[in-house]
């Protein structure tokens, strides 16, 4: 007997069923752990890529997490590498300038990517192809094509990929989403997001010059088109340049929209029409302007989401969102790791048959847990991609100065060939997904 079209006969079939047919020459890192008392070999072995600012805070958090072990630090700035290595305090730790050497290491289970936005697509995609689980900072990607590549790679290589929109792991974000999802303010027709202005104009255009010896400028630029070095481009300030970021619509938009999408059950959907605009900065180095407005109109339901910089602050916070329901409103302050909501939402407990959104034990911990269970994390790559699409479409609409109509099935722009060209960004040199 054999399965039609194959060489699998009954003998080999029985062998396959009864015992391990294939004896792989591999030793997973956790295989030797004792039950109930995870030892060092049961820890998720991590490499950090990008360890300035947010990346350094990840190093601090994972260093103190007994479920993780940091074994590699990578940054194109030697100073960052050294500071992070000092935080970890392990003489045996590997220090790298080139993230590919981190991906080459067979003893690493996972990587934390906190490089600037323009690197996310290449690094995360290649990390998945190298078999690493990934924690990638938000926003998911610089372009929609990169986000698609990341998602494809994550699914193709069965990787656990958490995007760093932490709002879904906060008590406030969870309470907001639970409250709205369970219909406590009625059907939501409008969400108004407010945010303080971008921190522009700024940067000093007189500082152009050679990069310091401690910084690999070419590697910092990576897939982005080449521009001459100015110290005010790095490190935090990448977000004020269109080539690397696009202001808070990406930076905090990826936080706020994440909770909004969760609360409105929009993870599987897209807006139909996106209209955005922003004024350019009058002076300074950076090319991201101080203000930005975006409107997202949905077709499958009566809903409009707006992003207003500066907008009208509905509460004493620099940013947040107002959910306007048929019966009531709900104000969410923040949306990132600091996400707060109204008392009525905090006190709300859904009924047994209500919607119970999963509770995260903390964004990083949720990722570590999922690496072990192989479940999808709370801000899985797919949700991260869909949130980033909102930010990216707003960016493109503002750049082109016209509204965009999205085909949600193909993630392309209807009837606008030029806009479609901006959905992807060819990378410099080999840095392509």
């Amino acid at each position: 007997m054999s399965i039609p079209g194959t060489k699998l006969n009954r003998r080999s079939f029985l062998k396959a069923g009864a015992a391990a047919v294939v004896a792989p020459m591999i030793l997973p890192t956790g295989v030797l752990a004792k039950p109930g008392r995870p030892g060092a070999n049961d820890r998720v072995v991590i490499g950090h890529i990008g360890v300035g600012g947010q990346g350094r805070s990840h190093v601090n958090m994972f260093k103190d997490n007994r479920g993780a072990k940091i074994a590699a630090i990578c940054d194109v700035d030697e100073k960052h590498r050294n500071i992070a290595a000092e935080i970890v305090g392990d003489d045996g730790i590997g220090l790298y300038n080139d993230f590919r050497r981190v991906l080459d290491r067979n003893d690493l289970d996972a990587v934390v990517i906190a490089a600037p936005d323009h690197w996310h697509g290449v690094m995360a995609t290649w990390a998945c192809e190298a078999g690493k689980d990934v924690y990638c900072e938000k926003p998911n990607s610089k372009t929609i094509a990169e986000g698609q590549a990341m998602l494809r790679a994550a699914r193709r290589y069965a990787r656990v990929v958490q995007i760093g929109s932490q709002g879904r792991s906060t008590v406030g974000g969870h309470a907001t989403a639970n409250y709205v999802r369970n219909g406590q303010i009625g059907s939501v027709k409008k969400v108004t997001c407010w945010h303080e202005n971008n921190w522009t104009p700024g940067g000093d255009p007189t500082k152009f010059g050679p990069p310091p010896d401690t910084l690999d400028w070419d590697m910092w630029l990576g897939p982005a088109r080449w521009i001459p070095y100015n110290p005010d481009y790095v490190h935090f300030n990448f977000r004020w340049m269109m080539d690397f970021g696009a202001g808070f619509i990406r930076d905090r938009g990826a936080h706020v929209f994440s909770v909004v999408q969760w609360a409105l059950d929009l993870d599987g959907t897209y807006p139909r029409r996106v209209t955005a605009s922003g004024e350019p900065p009058v002076d300074g180095l950076w090319d991201v302007g101080p203000t930005f407005q975006a409107k997202f109109e949905y077709e499958h339901r009566d809903l409009e989401i707006t992003w207003d910089q500066p907008g009208v602050a509905a509460a004493d916070h620099k940013f947040g969102a107002v959910f306007e329901g048929e019966n009531d409103t709900l104000i969410m302050r923040g949306g990132d790791g600091g996400c707060y909501t109204e008392e009525k939402a905090m006190a709300y407990e859904p009924p047994g048959d209500g919607v119970h959104l999963p509770k995260s034990p903390g964004h990083q911990q949720d990722w570590l847990d999922c690496i072990k269970t192989r479940e999808r994390p709370i801000m899985d790559i797919e949700a991260g991609h869909r949130v980033a699409v909102l930010c990216i479409l707003a960016e493109i609409s503002a750049r082109l100065g016209r509204p965009l109509t999205l085909d949600p099935d193909t993630e392309t722009i209807v009837g606008d060939e030029q806009a479609n060209r901006l959905l992807a960004r060819p990378g410099r040199g080999i840095w392509n997904v």
Binding site: I3, P4, G5, T6, L8, S12, F13, A16, G17, A19, V21, V22, P24, M25, I26, V31, P35, G36, P38, N65, R66, G67, D104, N106, E129, A130, G131, K132, R156, Y157, A158, P205, T206, R225, W226, E279, P280, V282, D283, D287, P350, G352, D353, P361, T373, R374, R399, G401, G415, D416, E417, Q418, A419, R421, A424, P426, R428, G429, I430, N432
Partner: protein, 557 residues
């Protein structure tokens, strides 16, 4: 006829005059724009740049000159104005004659300042059409701008691009070549294979591996490119295996299923890492290959692969797979039977309910537990404990994770006693620490006195030993949070028991003194303060409170 000619001539003259007027107006607008950009007023400059869209192709040359200005703000405003012009021309039908890309091409030529060239070539990617491809490709041999030209070409749709890139590949600078090769691979240009095969023979290892990488994206089998023995270290071997997977994916997309299947099978048989085995199984599933069955069954218990083996079998669309799964179930060991049961339940073949009901009476507690679960029952704690006792190590974690979720579901449904008893089973030492932490949280939230004896057996001794020795080891210090969760649960259930059990208060006081961490100690103190007014008649409790601030353990007899 003559009258008609006169009328036509008049119209022509009128149109010509209008055209001249329009041209003059456009020229004036461009002049105004350039003047504003060169002016001293920053706000006026950026406002003019922001509204430059209507300036049209005529503005491109002067804007290009300003884009190279030494005055940074002038150059930046000129770049913004160029973006606005190109964006306006990108509105469908707005630049029918392609005047804008023609003007940009002029700016991209040698002799123009480098910043101007870079900006022009960048924007050609936004607006250039098939007519411009050859001219842009000519710039690929110009080292200063070659990579920018390649990036611009990649954005332009049409078959001409791949051919132009390929034609330029042998002549370009070494630095620009990889980008060109990746670009042609993205367009699936099979014509690139011969030149890439030559490049793969390069002595330069990076160059050779780059060519290998691109060739596999085009669907060329790794063995045709580089002998396997050339992959010397682990990084090379992984790269080689990745080549197999990439080539197989491409071949599958091209409809060459048998070729793809062979490559996936090769990786699945000799994986460099668990991840490669996973990727190969997913490939076999995507190829709807019957070879998936033997490999996935082989990996069903392999940590780091088992989850993919399970999911691929559950999702695969392969003829007669259901029959084979049922027969495999009949001859395999209980650990695999348990997984196969889940797979079969998910696939729901005909007669599945009868099959699952029979599994309920299986000899193995693991199988019985899983059968009950997939049939929608909540197995009792003793069934869970029996299953965990015999399960392989990583299945223990999975069983506990499953049971924890069931317990949470029971708690939400208001079945508090059932949930509590399930949580008691989940806090036992054999369970994964993160799940124990969650179960302790459930017990704390339930706050039932029924839990007090269970936790006393489990935790009480630790506090006793701490009392006797400052060097006592926290038995819950496996992960951050577990010790806190255990301590809080201990205090909460004893607080609930305190109404009827005076010794419960003593236990809380003991924790406040002997807890392994401050958070638990403080929690115990808070509980004592809450409970004290309820027992105010009992003056003996006063000894737990010192100045209303710090608690002391009761004196031991």
């Amino acid at each position: 006829m003559e009258r008609l000619m006169i009328r036509h001539t008049s119209r022509f003259i009128a149109l010509a005059i209008m055209g001249i007027a329009s041209t003059t107006a456009a020229a004036d607008a461009v002049e105004d724009l350039i003047a504003a950009l060169n002016g001293d007023d920053n706000e006026a400059r950026m406002s003019a740049a922001n509204q430059a869209g209507s300036a049209g192709a005529g503005a491109i040359e002067p804007l290009g000159a300003l884009a190279a200005s030494d005055e940074y703000l002038v150059a930046r405003a000129a770049r913004l104005a160029l973006v606005r012009v190109v964006a306006a021309a990108g509105v469908p039908g707005a630049d029918a004659n392609g005047e804008v890309p023609k003007a940009l091409l002029k700016l991209a030529q040698p002799g123009q300042p480098a910043p101007t060239r870079r900006e022009a070539i960048f924007l050609l990617g936004w607006i250039g059409g098939p007519d411009n491809v050859t001219a842009i490709a000519d710039l690929l041999s110009d080292a200063e701008i070659a990579d920018s030209a390649r990036m611009a070409l990649q954005r332009i749709p049409g078959e001409e691009v791949a051919q132009a890139l390929l034609a330029a590949a042998p002549t370009v600078d070494d630095a620009a070549q990889p980008g060109i090769f990746y670009a042609v691979a993205n367009r699936d240009a099979q014509d690139a294979i011969p030149i890439l095969m030559e490049t793969a023979k390069s002595e330069d290892r990076e160059k050779a591996w780059m060519a290998f990488d691109v060739l596999t994206r085009l669907g060329v089998a790794p063995l045709q490119i580089i002998p396997r023995t050339h992959a010397k270290d682990i990084a090379d071997r992984k790269r080689y295996a990745n080549g197999f997977l990439r080539a197989a994916d491409t071949l599958l997309a091209q409809g060459k299923r048998a070729d793809a299947e062979r490559m996936y099978t090769s990786v699945a048989s000799f994986p460099v890492s668990p991840q490669h085995a996973c990727a190969a199984l997913i490939g076999l599933k995507n190829a709807q290959s019957p070879r998936l069955i033997e490999h996935a069954l082989g990996y069903l218990l392999e940590r780091g692969i088992s989850h993919v083996a399970e999911s691929t079998l559950a999702e695969a669309e392969i003829d007669e797979l259901d029959d084979y799964l049922v027969r495999a179930y009949a001859v395999t060991n209980p650990a695999k039977q348990r997984v196969l049961l889940k797979v079969i339940a998910e696939r729901r073949p005909e007669g599945v309910d009868r099959f699952l009901n029979e599994a309920r009476h299986n000899e193995s507690p693991m199988v019985r537990f899983t059968a009950a679960r997939v049939l929608g029952d909540v197995p009792p704690p003793d069934a869970f404990e029996a299953a965990v006792a015999v399960a392989p190590i990583h299945q223990k974690d999975e069983l506990a994770n499953t049971y924890f979720k069931l317990a949470v579901g029971e708690q939400r449904s208001g079945n508090l006693e059932i949930a509590r008893n399930m949580a008691h089973a989940l806090v036992q030492p054999a369970i994964e620490p993160r799940i124990r932490e969650g179960a302790f949280g459930m017990i704390e939230a339930a706050g039932s006195p029924e839990s007090a004896p269970v936790l006393r057996d489990l935790i009480g001794a630790a506090y006793e030993s701490k009392d006797e020795s400052d060097t006592a080891e926290d038995p819950f210090d496996d992960i951050r949070g577990l010790a806190i969760a255990a301590g809080r649960a201990y205090v909460a259930v004893h607080a609930a028991a305190a109404k009827d059990d005076p010794e419960a208060l003593e236990e809380i006081a003991n924790v406040s003194e002997n807890a392994f961490n401050a958070e638990v100690s403080n929690f115990a103190e808070e509980k004592l303060k809450e409970l004290l007014p309820l027992r105010e008649q009992d003056s003996s409790l006063e000894r737990f409170i010192d100045d209303g601030n710090r608690n002391r353990a009761p004196q031991k007899p």
